[in-house]
Symmetry: C2
Subunit: 558 residues, 2 copies
């Protein structure tokens, strides 16, 4: 066994030792597999005490309210989520850093403060928040999937963690990422693969797959992910959760570890995932209200702007059923169509949306992501001797689009990519404004709805069927975007379209990947997209859409 | 005579022909030189009709008010500025595109609208605004100092021009820039050198030197410049004017021609120059109120935030007399010290400011500016065969700092520069926040005051004495910054400090460049600096400082 394997084995042992002995269950995966259902959450509900389930089924908003009203203690909440996270991890392999002890101490301290002062420290008082491994906490490692980073304890605390903590959040776990966060699945030589909480035959998605899996199993009410090509939205979609990709500069990234930190053509952004839409707003508003722009020069000083007046009028929604490149699977199309029906029923307006530069935009993004032909990754892998993973070879292939020579771009070539990005963004705004010609009131659309992902998910170890056509464009365009679960695959109705003629090779691959049986019961999310820095608006629009869908369902069921 | 010289001669003829014959004065420069004073404005006041001088001495705010009240017509205002600009140009060589005819037509149209509707089209109704050559107007060339760009008429209109025009501005002239805007003087093979309006022995500064000269001669009440290393602030300072360097993303740069458009490590910004501080606010507020963020994806959606409440309390000002690298000349030091006296007298607080990373920051900026070793410039020069200018060789020398090989940076090296930039900005914010420990009320400083330039100016063709130590840092740090004229060189009191021991070679050079005689009567400006995106605040603080200085002067004179 080489040196890197030893480091990994040691790391796994150390992490595992952080789980209290009473919570270690060697046979948990076998036990779970024996059950007649696929949801990890259902299993955990069976094996965990009802008193804990009563807590872990709550949203972050509900927890905050109940703790503030002293209907729950921070300690009980923290204990319940630690316990559930410990079990979820043993099934899904979703945690990389575990620090329950300090979390429980912190919870006790918060209880003491509330008791003594009668006041909560902030709107997140007592809310456990899980953190993608990139977020730094002093004394805790940040390996981001690199073997060579094992053993280096962080000195600093990410500004976001500081802001959340000041408002009462409790950190108890850091979650798995793929090496360097550059994949839509979550696998690395450090921690192996993270499985899907809804059905472990599937990938948890990536790169915030640890968050997706943990929240999907309700081992966390609210988590922090990052997104440079879909990394918040993909795990949210794969697990039927809510996720917000904020625009660049809205939520502080300062002192968060990243790969390619100097690459600012398309920047990674940081944002929340949760099982509740309200929690995304709680998170975002709380952080914006923290005025972190006084400390992080990349944060734009835009205070929270209430958008509830949107509820007083009819919305104008642009529908992009597909991008003319890769047709989403039948349940995704159904999800969008049903959403439109619900919206129309409520009096909202739907117009067609398509953006003709979709292909150029994807190709340019591939070149940005692979601008150095992944040399930084390769060099960091070499430090430990760990081997390269499959996704990296796929990525290398992608970024060669239109380039003969597998070399890092020159600086002049990189500037051409910047110009293209700016061109795309300008054209997108033009198109958006031009949508005024399509709507009844002559005003531009409020938001776009479109797929998040062409399939419900892809199988564990099937990243080759991953197609980022519906996430990457909104990184290139820096749009505020929400992932919203709307339905489940139903093998009885989501039949393959036998007559479909694929538009290209990728489309044919994705088309061939569909099977109603394989994806049955998997959740389907849609994406709600607003313009740059319209976080408040996209959250409000998503909420209006959700209400419309729910009221449509109720109506239909009655 | 080679091909490029012919193109230039033709271009000069064409520009000149745009001046009405009656306004052409072949002997104007000789005539001016014969007079016993140095200010071009004084000369023009003598040779132009009093009725026109009554108009051209007005600020943009005053013009807008008088036009709105129908005390003046847009046509009369436009005529007066066109006339004065034509003469100023014949002395200073400050204009590259002249279009008086369309301007006068536009003025007539504005008069007609006001007469017919009784309403102004916006807060700039009838205000002539001069534009740095980079700004595009359909049918007009944008050469940015390149011979090879001669003859190419622009198709598009810059978004800023559109916004200003919609609010009533009249465009009548585009002003000179150095080749590619990469110099602190204004000289190119296309139009030669632009001289200083206060004293033609001096450079007008750069790269918005055409604006500086034209406004300095009162041939324009308000102009648009750009700034990537001081290009708004230097001409403002050299001519004793006001200038605002807005933060990146506050004023729209969309469809403005630029060199190195893809270089976004340090971005060029666009902003106003004027002979009045109130005009900077009129300009900035008007543009911000135009909500151009709906069209330009780079503009941040921050509405105008009134800061007049600052007038109700004492300010906390950080004073940076010098950067420990290059000692400003005696009148600059005096200007800052007198400003502090005035502020203290009014009850404001002064604390010391220094930023220890000044040197690293300047070296990094040099590497950013010369990231491709000026290959883009060289290639564009080659298209016409025009020779390289002195400033470019100086720039090449600068950007070699710490680099053995005169080659474009690799993409990995460019990412290191981005990381350094972000590190500087974070450290700057930390330092800024830490200033709370120095102030009486335990709050951070409101603004910094410091030199704009170590000398009053440099001589025409003396760009080698140009030292950008006090402008470039605030580009690297993306600070909102105002140039504020506060005094004049007085050879009787601004004596060289014979005891001064220069800190380094550059400092010795700048020290040796001082002569009270040479700079006598030149204006001295200081720089007022706030944090990123604090345009409203920096304008208000500058206004409070100006009031304090004026009231101090009045008090002293009584």
């Amino acid at each position: 066994m080489g040196n890197w394997q030893e480091k990994v084995a040691q790391k796994k042992r150390t992490t595992f030792e952080k789980i209290p002995k009473a919570w270690v269950q060697d046979q948990i995966l076998t036990d779970f597999r024996d059950r007649p259902y696929s949801q990890v959450s259902t299993y955990l509900d069976e094996v965990l005490p009802e008193s804990e389930n009563e807590i872990t089924k709550l949203t972050a908003c509900q927890i905050a309210t109940k703790v503030a009203r002293r209907e729950l203690t921070s300690s009980d909440v923290c204990y319940a989520f630690c316990h559930r996270a410990a079990l979820a991890h043993q099934i899904l392999n979703c945690c990389v850093e575990i620090f329950f002890e300090s979390a429980l101490e912190r919870a006790k301290e918060l209880d003491r403060i509330l008791e003594q002062t009668g006041e909560v420290v902030g709107p997140l008082h007592g809310v456990p928040i899980s953190l993608k491994d990139q977020v730094n906490l002093p004394g805790i490692e940040t390996t981001i999937g690199y073997v060579s980073y094992i053993g280096e304890k962080s000195q600093k605390k990410s500004l976001l963690a500081k802001a959340l903590e000041e408002k009462g959040a409790i950190f108890y776990v850091k979650t798995a990422v793929p090496t360097a966060m550059l994949a839509s699945e979550t696998v690395s030589n450090v921690h192996g693969i993270t499985l899907n909480a809804v059905n472990i035959e599937f990938s948890s998605g990536g790169s915030s797959g640890g968050e997706g899996a943990l929240i999907g199993a309700r081992g966390s009410p609210l988590g922090v992910g990052t997104d440079i090509g879909g990394s918040i939205r993909i795990p949210a979609a794969f697990q039927g959760l809510y996720g917000l990709r904020p625009s660049n500069g809205r939520i502080p990234y300062m002192d968060v570890t990243n790969s390619y930190a100097g690459q600012e053509i398309i920047q990674s952004v940081i944002g929340p995932l949760s099982a509740s839409l309200e929690d995304l707003q709680l998170f975002t508003k709380t952080v914006v209200d923290s005025h972190t722009w006084d400390e992080d020069p990349k944060v734009v000083p835009i205070p929270w702007r209430d958008q509830s007046s949107l509820r007083q009028r009819k919305l104008r929604i642009g529908l992009m059923l597909w991008d003319k490149l890769v047709m989403p699977h039948p349940p995704v199309i159904r999800a969008l169509k049903e959403t439109c029906q619900s919206l129309l029923k409520e009096g909202h307006e739907i117009v067609e949306w398509d953006f003709p530069l979709q292909k150029e935009l994807l190709e340019t993004a591939d070149q940005v992501y692979g601008a150095d032909f992944y040399q930084e990754v390769e060099e960091t892998l070499k430090l430990s001797g760990e081997p390269i993973l499959e996704y990296m070879n796929l990525a290398r292939k992608s970024c060669l689009n239109g380039r003969a020579d597998p070399q890092p771009l020159s600086i002049a070539e990189s500037w051409e990519l910047v110009k293209k990005k700016n061109f795309f963004r300008e054209q997108f705004f033009k198109k958006w404004n031009a949508s005024a010609a399509l709507t009844q009131e002559g005003e531009p659309i409020d938001a776009i709805i479109c797929p998040v992902w062409p399939s419900a998910a892809f199988g564990a170890n099937e990243v080759k069927f991953g197609v980022e056509n519906y996430t990457v464009p909104f990184n290139m365009l820096d749009c505020a975007s929400v992932v919203l679960p709307v339905t489940y695959v139903d093998k009885a109705i989501d039949l393959p379209d036998a007559t479909y003629q694929p538009a290209n090779e990728l489309d044919a691959m994705q088309f061939g990947y569909y099977s109603a049986e394989k994806f049955d019961k998997m959740p389907i999310c849609i994406q709600v997209v607003c313009r740059r820095l319209e976080e408040e608006k996209v959250l409000t629009v998503a909420s209006i859409i959700q209400d419309a869908c729910r009221s449509f369902e109720e109506h239909t069921n009655n």
